[in-house]
Amino acid sequence: MAVCHKAARPLARCMQTSQPPCFSARSIRQFTTTSRRDGEVATVPETEPIVYDPATVTSRKGEKALMKSGVMPIGSRRRRAALKSSGNLPFEQLPYQCFQEALKIFRTDREEKLKQIQTERLRISNLEAQDASNVKGGEVQKQRRLVSMRSHLEYLKIQADINDPLIKKRFEDGEGDMNKPIYRYMAEKQWRKYQQLLIAQRIDQFNIVPDVLPHFEPTADVRLAFKQRSVQHGEYVDSRVSEVPLRLKVQVFDKGERLVSIVVIDSDVPVSEEDNFTSRCHFLATNIPLSPTITSIPISQLPKESIALPWMPPFAQKGSPYHRYSVFVLQQQPGETLDAAQLKEAVQRDGFRLRSFKDKYKLDPIGMSIFRSTWDEGTAGVMQRAGIEGADIEFKRKRVEALKPKQKARGWEARHSSAKYRQLWR
């Protein structure tokens, strides 16, 4: 404090405290004979209304005031208190010693990993440039080494970023860029934890594997929706809901764009003449682009050139057991395109076999989803509008005759009903 300030302190204090109340506007007003006029109305000095920030309000009074005005406070009270007290610092600059030390360790580790990535890239390029005759083991061994080196490079890329708290936060908020390997890795890990187990269980429970395909391991996350309604794997879907084409959301976890085909198969079409079941294809489309960033496939918005068999609404005749509808996403060979017009001629809806179809056109199933359908009130209408016959057919269970012989009639009347005893009945 400057010397002048120290000297003036007693005087200043005196000036501040000795403001007599008689100097206020209220008391100076003189006596008047006439009544009070509008201009002379004594007003209470108004304090400015406190403006609460929805991101940092912590008091209950402030929250109530905000909600009354129609603005909701953001996040939990704890979050708001933390934001208020931290002075709006970026997360990685928060002044907690342990946290900062950990971040230091992580950063040094990341530097090391980046150097390793660089050296690995150099090694790969050197090996690629080398002639196969110079490499021990020839071309085969060279390719093997390149494959293992590339997989190690991918591993290093993940390890460089996996410990970053901001990357974790971005992924959890859904802001991760799927073109980067770390976000794809985290998305796949999350999928394998639950959703992949769920679809594998459905494939086993509904016998998709022996009936539709001999072997199948899903590698992509496939979700279905009809209009705004999402469909869980194996859920019963009303016929009126599935009358419109479905919307697919497919998340692949390996990089690169590829073309896929979509097939919707009904595996439980009843054939009463043969006392058997066949399958039917309800939808077939090809040459649909798919990548880790392009995930949405709305079937109704696909170009006409891609659709080989247009959407036929799922239906189940009355009395038949539930129909399983499997939606398969099949990856085409890199660079290969299928002709939808040619497929339309070649592929029959009835008796469609996915095994032979995928072998013929060299397709690789990467993901699937499933829903079920039974007879309900709207099925007849759906069939009529789609021009499908058979809405008035009902399936009834066949009677199984018992193996044991019919019981003979009992009683005196039964024993004496033959011609021998005609006299008794006259």
């Binding site: 909600m67 129609g70 016998n207 594997v209 022996p210 009936d211 001999p214 072997h215 009809f226 209009k227 705004q228 009126r240 009358e243 419109v244 084409p245 919307r247 009843p270 054939v271 009463s272 006392d275 058997n276 079941f277 709305p298 109704s300 918005q301 005749q317 009355k318 009395g319 038949s320 009130e377 709207g378 099925t379 007849a380 209408g381 009529q384 509008r385 809405a391 008035d392 057919i393 009902e394 399936f395 009834k396 269970r397 066949k398 199984v400 005759e401 018992a402 193996l403």
Partner: protein, 243 residues
């Protein structure tokens, strides 16, 4: 029963004869060999088990439970027919067969019984299955399409199904979202309308209610009668009438 021991007195007598071998007379020797009668205190013996105990501990054998195969291989069965009765699982249920709570194997489809082993399913187990053709072999090849029977007849419906007229909208047209009220945070962390708003819901819906007249028993009776008529049909099945 404690049997008095005879051996020790006999042994003692013989020993005494041996000891006193200087006796010349045979009669005196015999006299020395007098087996003393059991002393006033008898020595009784207890053996480990007795007759009653032995009879109780005999191996049990009750009436036979008629277990075993009831249908032989390639015999025709219908759903529900018991194929094998057993204690535990000597045989496991295979294709188109089920297992009951006492491990009874029964058929779930009409067909022919097959007894087989499937090392790919389990290396040690043996299975009973039902096939639709007599010459079909079990186990089926791995990951082959399941053989199923419809077991249903397609018949014409007597009354054709009612077809309701609905307008099919494409999935691009989204319904305008219903205008929802902004719900307030109430005590107890509930997001709902205020109580006074709930109280005035009838007013908003313009529900018309006749004013209650306390002495008008005719209107009151009519209302009560109408309510009872409606509630009569709502009685839950299984609920007993209160006496």
């Amino acid at each position: 029963m404690l049997l008095p021991r005879l051996q020790p007195p006999l042994r003692a007598a013989i020993c005494s004869i041996g000891r006193s071998s200087q006796q010349p007379c045979i009669n005196e020797a015999f006299a020395a060999l007098n087996i003393r009668a059991a002393s006033p205190t008898l020595t009784f013996v207890r053996h480990a088990s007795h007759a009653q105990q032995g009879a109780v501990n005999k191996a049990k054998d009750g009436p036979g439970k008629r277990l075993g195969a009831k249908k032989s291989g390639e015999q025709y069965v219908i759903p529900g027919n018991i194929i094998f009765r057993q204690r535990g699982t000597l045989w496991f249920p295979g294709e188109n067969c089920g297992m009951g709570r006492d491990h009874t194997i029964y058929a779930t489809e009409s067909g022919y019984v097959k007894y087989y082993k499937d090392p790919e399913k389990h290396p040690k187990r043996q299975y009973i299955g039902v096939v639709f053709e007599r010459d079909q072999v079990l186990p089926l090849p791995r990951n082959s399409v399941r053989r199923r029977k419809l077991n249903m007849l397609a018949t014409q419906m007597e009354v054709p199904p009612t077809i309701e007229e609905i307008e099919v909208k494409s999935d691009l047209v989204l319904k305008p979202k219903k205008e929802r009220k902004v719900l307030q945070l109430r005590p107890g962390y509930m997001y709902r309308e205020a109580n006074w708003e709930i109280g005035r819901a009838a007013e908003r819906a313009k529900v018309k209610v006749k004013e209650f007249k306390p002495r008008d028993r005719w209107t009151a009776w009519r209302k009560a009668w109408a309510r009872k008529l409606v509630n009569k049909d709502k009685r839950i099945v299984g609920q007993r009438k209160k006496k």
